[in-house]
C-alpha cells in the first residue's frame, strides 16, 4: 500500500538496527499534544482499477466539444512523438539538473530550447522557462524595472489590449513592490494601441511599455512605431508574443529600429495540450546587455575536465539559492517537462512546419470570420488585420447564445462582456489548423439558429 515496499520482516529488522521498539517511537520528539490519530476527511483508498474507472467516468461526463475558444490557450495538432518521448521516465521523473553530469539529457535539451526560442524571437538569450505566459509577463515587468536604471519611477505602460488575465497577474505580482501601471486605451474602431494613447506620457518618467502582438483581440499592433516611440524616450519595450504567430510575424528582436528589449509569451501552443489551463510554460528572451537581470534558470555549454563539451546551469548567482533576498526572482521549480515537449515539437515542425501551422490557423480563422459574419446580426468588431483570432459583434447578448451553442456541443468563443463592457455584445473567436470547413459550417448553422431563437424569444 502507498507504494511502500517493506515487508513485516524488513520493518522488524530496520527497527532493530535503529534501536527503536516501534515506528511510533521515531516520532517521540513531536510534542504529544500536537499529534493526530486519524485523517478524517480523507476517504478510504481506491485501488488502481477503481480510480481508473472514477476518472474515466468523470472525463466522459465532461466530454469534448468543438471548440472555437482561444484567448491565450490554443488547440493545435500535437505530433504523437511529442508526448511519447516527453513522458519517458528519464525526463518525467528526473529532478532539476543540479548534478550536471547525471543530467546531461535535460541540460542539453534546455540548451537546444534556449537556442530555438532565441531564434524564434530574434533575441540573444533565453531562460529555461517561467510558470506561464502571464507570470512571464509579470517577471518581465520586474526585470525591466531592474534593467532600466535611468528610470526612477517604476512605472509601466500597459495597454488595455493586453490579455486581461495577464494584466491581473502583473498587478498581483508587483503590487507590494511599489510599481505603478498606466492603462493605455485602445482605439475603439481599430482595437489597437494608437499614438493618441501614448501622447499623455510625453516627457514623463516611464520605465517600460508592454506590447502584445497579436493583441488580446487578435489585432496586429503597430509594433515598429510603438517600439521606436518608447526607445526614443528611454523606455524599455516588453514584447508579449504568440510563438506560433512568430513563424509569420516580425519577431520582437526586429521591432522598430532597435528591437524589443525583453520578449515573453505563453509556450502552450508549442505541443502542450490545453489541459484545462495547465501545466503550460512561459518563455522569456532578452538581449545580452540585460541577461543578468533575467530571472530563472539558464543553461550554458562548457567543457569538462577532459576537454569535451558538456552542459551545466550557469549564471546561478542571480538565483534565489545563492542570492537569497537579493535574487532576481524567487522562482525555483519551473515548467521543465513542458519545455521538453516544446523542444520536441519545434524539432518536428522545423521552420516549414511551423509556418504551415501558422498559415493554416490564420486561414481557418479568416474562413471562420467570413462565414460567421454572413449570419444576420454578426459583424466584425474592429477593422484592420488580425492573426488567427478575432472579435465579432452580435446584435444581442453573447452569454445566452454561448449557452445554446454549448448545449449543441460547440464552445463558441469567449464572451468579452465581463472584461470589456464598453464593447457590448462582443465575442472573441479563434480557429486553428485543427478546424475543417465542415466544423466552421456547423458553427455557422448553430449560431444562426441560436440567434434566431434569441430574437424570437
Amino acid at each position: 500500500m502507498a507504494f511502500i515496499p517493506h515487508t513485516e520482516a524488513d520493518v522488524a529488522a530496520m527497527l532493530a538496527t535503529i534501536g527503536a521498539a516501534s515506528i511510533e517511537e521515531l516520532f517521540e520528539e513531536i510534542p504529544p499534544e500536537l499529534r493526530i490519530r486519524s485523517l478524517a476527511g480523507v476517504p478510504e483508498a481506491l485501488n488502481e482499477m477503481e480510480i481508473g474507472r472514477l476518472m474515466s467516468e468523470r472525463a466522459a461526463a465532461d466530454g469534448t466539444a468543438l471548440s472555437f475558444l482561444g484567448a491565450g490557450a490554443y488547440e493545435h495538432h500535437i505530433p504523437a512523438a511529442v508526448w511519447a518521448i516527453t513522458t519517458r521516465g528519464e525526463f518525467y521523473s528526473a529532478y532539476t539538473p543540479y548534478q550536471a553530469e547525471a543530467s546531461q539529457g535535460t541540460l542539453q535539451l534546455i540548451y537546444e530550447f534556449q537556442t530555438m526560442m532565441a531564434r524564434l524571437t530574434a533575441m540573444d538569450a533565453a531562460n529555461a522557462s517561467m510558470y506561464d505566459g502571464a507570470s512571464a509577463m509579470g517577471e518581465a515587468v520586474l526585470m525591466a524595472v531592474r534593467a532600466n536604471r535611468k528610470s526612477k519611477a517604476a512605472r509601466i505602460l500597459l495597454p488595455a489590449s493586453v490579455h486581461p488575465h495577464y494584466r491581473q497577474v502583473a498587478h498581483a505580482m508587483t503590487s507590494n513592490q511599489g510599481l505603478t501601471f498606466a492603462e493605455l486605451p485602445y482605439a475603439p474602431q481599430e482595437g489597437v494601441t494608437g499614438a493618441a494613447a501614448l501622447a499623455p506620457f510625453e516627457g514623463q518618467d516611464v520605465t517600460a511599455l508592454v506590447v502584445q502582438q497579436p493583441n488580446f483581440f487578435g489585432r496586429l499592433e503597430d509594433v515598429d512605431a510603438l517600439t521606436d516611440w518608447a526607445h526614443a524616450r528611454g523606455i524599455l519595450v516588453i514584447a508579449v508574443v504568440n510563438p506560433i504567430a512568430l513563424a509569420l510575424l516580425k519577431p520582437p528582436g526586429e521591432w522598430g529600429a532597435r528591437g524589443a528589449d525583453i520578449a515573453v509569451g505563453e509556450g502552450q501552443p508549442l505541443g502542450v495540450p490545453l489541459s484545462a489551463g495547465g501545466p503550460y510554460f512561459g518563455f522569456m528572451t532578452t538581449r545580452m546587455e540585460y541577461l543578468r537581470q533575467m530571472p530563472g534558470r539558464i543553461v550554458g555549454r562548457t567543457l569538462d575536465t577532459a576537454g569535451h563539451p558538456g552542459f551545466t546551469l550557469t549564471l546561478q548567482a542571480r538565483e534565489q539559492h545563492i542570492r537569497r533576498a537579493k535574487a532576481t526572482s524567487n522562482i525555483c521549480t519551473n515548467q521543465g517537462l513542458l519545455v521538453t515537449a516544446a523542444t520536441i515539437y519545434l524539432s518536428l515542425m522545423g521552420p516549414q512546419g511551423l509556418e504551415r501551422t501558422a498559415a493554416a490557423a490564420h486561414a481557418r480563422t479568416r474562413e471562420l470570420v467570413a462565414t460567421l459574419t454572413r449570419v444576420p446580426g454578426v459583424r466584425p468588431a474592429f477593422s484592420g488585420p488580425y492573426f488567427h483570432e478575432a472579435v465579432l459583434q452580435l446584435d444581442r447578448p453573447v452569454a445566452p447564445v454561448l449557452r445554446a451553442l454549448a448545449a449543441g456541443g460547440i464552445h463558441g468563443g469567449l464572451d468579452l462582456a465581463p472584461y470589456y463592457p464598453e464593447l457590448g455584445s462582443a465575442l472573441l473567436v479563434c480557429a486553428t489548423e485543427t478546424k475543417s470547413s465542415a466544423d466552421i459550417e456547423r458553427y455557422r448553422a448553430q449560431l444562426s439558429e441560436a440567434l434566431q431563437a434569441a430574437r424570437a424569444a
Binding site: 543578468r292 550557469t314 546561478q316 548567482a317 545563492i322 542570492r323 537579493k326
Partner: protein, 132 residues
C-alpha cells in the same frame, strides 16, 4: 594565510582602501575575501558620478557559488569604476590589491576621518577571530 599590505586600511566587510596622491580613495576587496568567494565570473562596478554613503552597497562580485555586495567604506562621490573588470573579473582573484581595484571615490569633507577603518593588524585580528 592571505596577503595583507600594511599601507592599506580595511573594513569589517573585507574591503580595502588606498589613499591616492590626490586624496582620492581606491577601493577593492581583500585577498581573504577573493579567496573565500573563489573564481570570480562577474564584477559590477558603480558609475562615475554616483554619490554614496558609507556602508551603502555599490558594487557586486560574483563567483559560480556565491555573490557578494561590496560596500562603500567612506561616504563620497564615485570618480571611476575599474573598466577592466567587465571583461576580466579574474583580475580581482589574481591581483586583488592592484589591477583588481573596484572603484575610486572622492571622499565627502570629513568623511575619511569619520569612517571606522581598520589597520592591517586590526583586520588580521578580525580574520583570526573569524577563523580565517
Amino acid at each position: 594565510m592571505s596577503e595583507l599590505p600594511a599601507d592599506l586600511k580595511y573594513t569589517k566587510s573585507h574591503e580595502w582602501v588606498r589613499t591616492l596622491s590626490d586624496g582620492t580613495l581606491e577601493i577593492g576587496i581583500s585577498d581573504h575575501a577573493q579567496h573565500a568567494l573563489g573564481d570570480l565570473v562577474f564584477v559590477e562596478v558603480p558609475e562615475a558620478g554616483r554619490k554614496v554613503q558609507a556602508g551603502e552597497a555599490c558594487a557586486v562580485v560574483e563567483s559560480v557559488k556565491a555573490a557578494s555586495d561590496v560596500y562603500a567604506p567612506v561616504s563620497g562621490q564615485i570618480t571611476a569604476g575599474n573598466p577592466k573588470l567587465a571583461a576580466e573579473p579574474e583580475a580581482v582573484n589574481s591581483s586583488p590589491y592592484a589591477e583588481g581595484w573596484l572603484m575610486r571615490l572622492k571622499p565627502a569633507p570629513g568623511a575619511l576621518a569619520a569612517a571606522a577603518l581598520l589597520s592591517a593588524a586590526e583586520y588580521q585580528k578580525l580574520l583570526d577571530a573569524e577563523g580565517g
